[in-house]
Amino acid sequence: TSFIIKKLQSQAATQARASLNGGSGSSQGDSFLVPGATVATLLMLGVLHARRMYDEKKVKEAQGKGIECEFQPDLKATFLRLLPLRSISRCWGYLTSVEIPVWLRPHIYRAWARAFHSNLEEAALPLEEYASFREFFVRSLKEGRRPVDPDPQCLVSPVDGTILRFGEFKGPGAMIEQVKGFSYSVSSLLGASSFLPMVAEGHMGEDVDEPKNISTNKSKKSWWRISMASPKVWDPVSSRPMRGLFYCVIYLKPGDYHRIHSPVDWNILVRRHFSGNLFPVNERATRTIGNLYVENERVVLEGPWQEGFMAIAAIGATNIGSIELFIEPEFRTNQPSRRLLHSKTPEERVYDPEGVGMTLKKGDEVAAFNMG
């Protein structure tokens, strides 16, 4: 603000001198309009960024005191439902794919890194080599920047991000809490045809120790056959998860590294694609948009690992609209919608009907979130 005041004062003094000399004060006034507008825009963006950081700080402080955020739908959420978010996302993707002049690239990428706390030293290539912002966003990292924990008895994070929720499923229906007072079922997230190890409520006593029998005492092929032979239709009230079924929700901020890696040695058997909405998935959105994670477009990868069932759901958002799979390069998400209403039925692909699937090692790259 002091910078603008000083600038305005010096501009006024210049104009006064120019008018005393009978010179061209008006043309100098016009020339100030462009930098003035730029400064005003930057100021506005700065204020918005500061407000967002202040809001996030308040939420973190509340969480630190043990106060849970409650679900509070607001006008903004209602308004978002009316917007053509998929078209906006695709348009954003087009804009970020435009090639940037080489001399301008480092400036833009550094500005982004400052705003969203990215570490540019980790980028695999020099900044000038990322032709577009989209390329820069999905950049890979230098070798060795993400060492994988060598402990064979650990499960590693598949992404860089912030832990939102985690825990073990215990109650009927296997629900994940979005915020206080609002939950979604894991079968809605992964799909009704998921191989989730669930048992009917009445058989809980005899089946509670079953997951090992399914996962480790039988071959991968038989695991697959069992799953195929008994398609499940869930009734969240009458079924509950077997013991030892866990979940973890991780949020990726815009400045985070946006590639997904395998958390364990894993065989991916099925890919499921839900073509849903593309709501934002930030902290505010989770508090105001109901069923956010089960309404948004997402890709689910499922298969067995040494301890049983494993699934990863990558959920898109307005700015991060498309999900790229390195294990299936021809696969595309965030396509123009052919219907006004998206079907709740996912499009499914079985990678290997023989039961082996795509074999991945712990830490291998699986997918990436793209801009738009």
Partner: protein, 43 residues
Amino acid sequence: STVVIVFQAPVKKNGDSLSEFKFSVKRGDRIRVGEALGRWREQ
């Protein structure tokens, strides 16, 4: 964007099991690719 992982892991059972999975993170923690989310140990 958000990622949700759902997985089975060892749990302590009455009498016969030797290991149990435990998360090694807290809510709000920042985590990076390759860092441990949780471990299971011989009891």
